[in-house]
Structure formats: C-alpha cells, structure tokens
Amino acid sequence: MIIPEVMEFLRGTPPFQFLADEALQQIALSLSMEFYPKDSIILRQDSKPNAYLRIIKKGAVKVLIQSEQGEEVLVDYRGERDTFGLWSLIGTDRQRTTVVAVEDTICYLLNREKVLELLDTSAPFTEFFLKSHLSRYLDRTYSEMLSKSMFFGGTDRLLFASQVGDVATREIVSAPETVSIQNAAAIMAEERVSSLIILDSAGHPSGILTDRDLREKVVARGKDVRLPVEHVMSSPLITVESRDYCFDAVLKMIRSNIHHIVVLREGQVHGVLTNHDLMMLQGASPLTFAKDIESQQTIDGLMPVSNRVNKVIGLLLKEGAKASNITRIISELNDRIVTKVLSIAEKEHGPAPLPYCWFVFGSEGRKEQTFRTDQDNAIIYADPASEAEARAAREYFGPFASFVKDALLRCGFASCPGNYMASNPQWCQPYETWARYFTQWIHTPTPEAVLASAIFFDFRPVYGETGLASRLRSHLTASVKTQDMFLAFMARMTVQTRPPLGFFRTFVVEKGGEHKNEFNLKFRCIAPLVDILRLASLETGIEETSTLDRLDALRGKHRLVNEYGDEIRHAFEFVSLLRIHHQLEQIEEGIDPDNFINPDSLSHLERNTLKESCQLISQVQDSIQNQYGPAIRI
C-alpha cells in the first residue's frame, strides 16, 4: 500500500501525471522519503551538488540565493506537489540555491539517474521541466543575480536556453527522391551545404542526404551514383520542433547518432540544425555580432545582420543579464548599425560640404532601447559661412538623410510617427538653429515645447563631428539651470502621470477595450522614472543622458537621489526587465511587442516588487510636488 499511495500522489503532481502507470510505478519504487523539520536547511548554496529532485509531499520551502555581495534574496516559495533541486542536479558542479523548510516538510526524493532517464525518454517530462523551470528560474525577477554562470557554464546554459528555431540554419536545400545520387551530390557541392532534404512526389520531406551518407553508403560501398538518391538517404527523418530547446535536439541527435536534424515548424520544414550550428551557438555573442556588422559593405548585406538583434536580446535575457546591461549592449549594436549605414551613405553621396553630427535622442539617446524602436535622430551641422554654403548643405543633407532613413527602415528601424527624424528638414539644421530651438523651448515652455524638450534633451552624438553636439549640450546646460519657470513645467510633466497603484495597494488597470485588465508599463512606470532623473539632471546641470548614468552622476549632488538613489535604481532595473520579458514573450509568440502588462499574470514576487516600485515612484513624485509647490498642482 506504500507504492500505490505514492503513485496516487504522483498522478496529481505535474509532470508525473503525464506518465503511464508502469513508468509511475518504476518511479515510486525508486523514491525515498525524507522529513525536514521547520527552519531546517535542506540544501545549501555552494555546497556539493545535490543528487535528488525533491517533490514536496507535505509542507513548504523557500528558495534563497546569495549574491556575490553576500546578500540573501528570497527567490521563491514552493508548496505541496512542487519540486526543487532540478538545476543543481543537472549542473553537477555545486548547489545553486539554498532551500529552507518553512514548515515541517516531507519530500519524496527522486535520484539523479532516474531524473536524467526521464528527461531523456519522456517528452512531457522534459517539456514541463525545461519550460516551467527555465522560465521560472532564468527569466524571473532576480535572474540578474544568477547571471554569473550560476546555472550552466557557457554552452551548456545556451543549450538549455536557446530554442532550436533560433539556432538552426534556415536556408534549406531540397531535391526530389528521383534525383540521382550524383546530381544530389552536385547540388550539395553547388550550394555548399552538408545536407540535402529529400522530398517525395507530394513534396513532403521523406529523408535527408548528408555528407556522411555519401561517404558511408556511396563511396565506401562503391554504390552506383546513377541510382535515385532515395536508396542512400537517411530515412525516416528525425525531426525536432523549432520551439524545442536545443537540449532536446542534442538528446535526439546523440540518441540517433546523427549530425543533422530537421527542424519543423507547424509541420513544415523550417531548417536544419547541425552539430556545427550548436558549436556556433557560442558565436551568438554580441561580440561576434558586432564583427558581423563591421564586415558589411552594403545596406543589403547589413539587413540580415541587423535583423538578428532581437535574437541577441533573447539570448542575453536567457543568460540572465541585467536590464541595464541588455539595453546598453543593444544600444551599442544599434549604434554600430547606424554608424555603418552612415558610412555607406557617405560613400554613396560623397563627402559632406560641412562638418556634421548625427545625433539620436529619446530612448536611443538614453541607451535604453530594447527591441527595435522607432528612429529618433537628427543632424546638426556647422554654421554655414555664406548663403551658397547654406544651400549646398541643404542640398546635400536632404537626400543624404532620406537615404539613411530608408536604409535604417530596411534594417528594421521603423520610422518615427512624430517625424522626429533627420529626413524632416526641421530636424536637419545648423548649430545656430538648434541652439535657437532649445532657447525657445526653455524660455517659452508651452506644452509642445516641454514635450519636445523631454524628447530632444536626452540627445547624444552617434556619428560625425561630436564637438557640435557637445557645444549644444553645454548651451542647454547653461540655459536651463536658471530657468525656474521651465523647470517647473518639466516638474509638472514629471508628476502628472502616476503609477497604476490604487488606494488599497491594488493595481489600477484598464476597465475595458483591447487592454482590459492591463496597464501600460512604459507610460505609467518607466516614463515617470526617466522623467524624474531628467528633471534632476537639468536642475543640477548633469550632462549624462542614460537614466542610470544620471543616477550615478547625481549621487551626492541631488536631494532626491541621495535619499532614494538605490531604490530608484532597483525599481528602474526591475520594471525595465519586466518590460523586456513581456516583449520577448510577445515576439516569441509572433505578436508585435507592446507595453501592456496584466498584473494578474505576474508571479507573487513580481507583483509585490512592482507594487513597491510603484509606491516609490509615487513617493518621489510627491516629493517633487512639494518642492515645486502649488505652481505645479494639476
């Protein structure tokens, strides 16, 4: 009656519920049972790796991670029928987390061999653990703390974190079954591929011909090369779904002793994954990527490289990178693309008649871009000495800017709906005009002027004569500091949009429409934080444009930052990461990314952290309101 009881329990416990009775019985027989009194430490971080997957039969545990700074952070609570210890078990080098019983707890212990066997043989089991545990462990709030190779060293981690579809070679070469071996080999040589997908008369993939087939079945056996290829191809096809993790593919490849596996997406051949692709997985690093950009000479060559940026974000996220690091790397890559586009444009249009600087603003200016955002750019050029020079400049920079806009468009940067682009003559001007724009906005702070200021004042140079942008920055810093009226308007804008937290600490969400039960995270949480730091920087004369750089520069110089600095940093990192995760999820589902979050879809921990972040924003906004007084009451 012991084993039937355990089986009954497992039947109600994911993912064991998916297993057949026979498999369940085998598992039950291999289990041992352990009792942990309340407050006892079940697993200790950095100790020897644990050898068991623990399934909570009764009780509850909390999972803690100690950062390098020695700070213990609560990562999760687990209750009855939850499991813990999987990743440390697979990792085998050391225990990754500390697990403490929060009440008297009884666990079933499933040994490592059995877990690996299940991962290897049971698809539902693998899927459950890879998907639920991966998202739970790697994609959550404190994943940044895990970034220092907490989970898997190097490639291992990528194997677990990358989906087959992202890694596989997409260009597939196919041929009908009736083609001769010789012709098939000729196609492979011609296309420089190591595998050829063979299609049956209905056009469905029926097999694959690889270099190895040619070597082992044709050359070594002296096979007549005029025979149809179906005689030597590998069949049936071994396939993997494009959404599967590379780990699944590796398991299948090892099991079948093959080096090529066909990737399917919705029943269609999507690509081929080779062991070479898997080796190249390490090459999916931002560094390799930057080199790729560098080596392109044409817009056509740049396009495919550029469109891979989103994948890099996915990988970075899954590696547990901090939000601020991700956005910085992305900005760096985007800057390189823009630089490349500009240098190609210069080649096409000849040298510029006057020194100029290409600058960006908005989120690009703050280096806070995530997934490809709109183009926010402008040109500032040296003041022309004569009307002839002015005309020459207009005639040059107009078509030049249009070329760049189109090129960026093709590289995946959407054009700006507000037309804040260098291709708009208004934003392609000599220094003098720019200085006048800024002065005007500051002295006559109409709502439009304040809005423009919020967008443009986060500018930074990307290409060309950066001295022009620096001069403009100095001009801005000097002009704004004493303009209390303008600052008051900025302050008013900063406190206008409140975080979505109701009186009883409940989230205020949309009551209807497309985004019912959701709220706009960018508008309600990220923008206020950005605005707060921009205001503080303008007040203090700080020239940094990134929110977190501003925060660092303002330490010791600004009251609000002195008081709330660390909390603001944490909140900003958290909401940014939340947004990136949300958008990545959407992209992976094939939806256009937006900023609408449903608080109910968050974990308990995330929800609480978000509430705390919202409260902090509110508090800082109140403080600004008090400082500026009734003048900015709305």
Binding site: M1, M33, E34
Partner: protein, 233 residues
C-alpha cells in the same frame, strides 16, 4: 560497512557490537553518523501475545538509509502460524485463517528476511515484542537469535519527551504509554492501514524519521548515541 576491531575497555555498547561483529555479516561502526546508518524498520502481526503458544502471522519491514525511507525497498510476508488464527484477531490484522493456512511457514521466508535485515540496525515500535517472537521462531528453527543492534521508537520518544519536559516544567504531556496510532497522530502521520505489518512498519519509520530530527537537537548524531538512549530494555 567496514568492520573495525573494537577496543576492549568500552562498555555495553562495545559488547553489543562485538557480538554483532562476531556473527558473519552484520558489522557496525559505533561512531557511524546517523545519516549514514542503514536501518530496517520492522513490525510483526501475531496470533496472540503469549510467546509459548502464539506465533508470528506476518512480517513487514522497510529500509531506511539514515533518515531517508526507501519506499521501494520493503518486505512483507504472511506466515503460516503454528497454531490456529484466533477468529477474534482477524478484525485487527485482516488476515483470514484461510489466507494464513495458504502462506508459507516461517522457515521459508527466513533467508529472505535475514538478507533484508543484514547489516542494518533494527528499529521498531515496542520492538521487544517483535524481537521476542522473531527470535522464538529462529530458536525453534535451530537458528541463532538476531544479533543486529535494536532501537525502540517508543523508548526514543520517551527519552525526547523527558528532555523536553526538563526544558519546560509545565509540560503536561505523557508519552510513555502512547500507542502507535496516537504517536502517529501526534506527528501528523496518516494512519490509513493500521495493523498491517508493512503499513505499521512504514508508519513507525515515519515517526522514527521525525524523532531522529528531534533527537539531533539533543546531540544524538551517531548510532552509539542512539543506542544509548533508545535500546529496548
């Protein structure tokens, strides 16, 4: 399990181990950490309580590695008793006279049972009774009595209670004559199939597991400590 030569001057524990050491297989290091000791938690159902006339009706046992119960490593056999199965006891253990008559004699299961206990410290609730009857069966078969070290969970529980009471003068609990059911309930262990030898052994193992956790709080870390406080009288 490695055999070591015991120093001569140690007290009864040494004698205990020496006895075990002389028998062929079971050999215990008295300073083994509780977490590494192999235990076998046993229970028997009997036809009655008089050792002369009554006999073993079923044997249940489950293996523990340290504090871990090995759920797949259990032992359960119904035994053909020497005498009649009293009809009145059927309601308790659920073994009918027909079932008992069809079962093999104790002699048949003896090798299996010995193999299951080999190298393991025997644990049971009021284990003296089980040991008396088991050794009785052994003696009748001309076999030596079991030499394994033995631990009584009720004794361990009573010892822990006394420790707790020392710490709290107002403790009104009374542990000494707790039945297995009460004990199980006290520790929150479900008692669905009581009076089946394996089920009772399993319940006893779960109680023992919790007692070990408590005992370690009173400095019981090695098997010799455990034997000192929980060896049956």
């Amino acid at each position: 399990m490695t055999t070591v030569t015991m120093p001569e001057e140690k007290g009864f524990i040494n004698r205990l181990f020496r006895g075990a050491g002389r028998a062929k297989a079971p050999a215990f290091r008295r300073d083994t950490d509780v977490a590494e000791v192999e235990f076998v938690v046993i229970d028997t159902e009997l036809t009655g309580l008089r050792p002369r006339t009554d006999s073993v009706l079923s044997v249940g046992a489950i293996h523990m590695t340290g504090t871990r119960i090995e759920l797949g490593q259990s032992f359960y056999r119904v035994v053909r008793p020497r005498g009649e199965v009293p009809g009145t006891s059927v309601v308790i253990h659920g073994i009918t006279p027909t079932e008992a008559d069809a079962a093999p004699s104790f002699e048949v299961l003896l090798p299996e049972f010995l193999a299951f206990c080999e190298g393991r410290v025997i644990v049971g609730y009021c284990v003296n009774i089980d040991m008396v009857f088991l050794n009785g069966e052994f003696r009748r078969l001309g076999r030596r009595r079991l030499r394994n070290p033995v631990i009584d969970t009720l004794k361990l529980y009573t010892w822990i209670r006394r420790k707790q009471r020392d710490a709290c003068a107002f403790d009104n609990g009374c542990g000494e004559d707790m039945g297995l059911t009460e004990l199980a309930e006290k520790f929150g262990i479900p008692t669905a199939h009581m009076h089946n030898a394996l089920s009772d052994a399993y319940i006893t193992a779960q109680i023992f597991q919790q007692l070990l956790a408590l005992a370690s709080g009173y400095g019981i870390h090695r098997v010799e400590d455990l034997l000192l406080v929980a060896r049956p009288d």
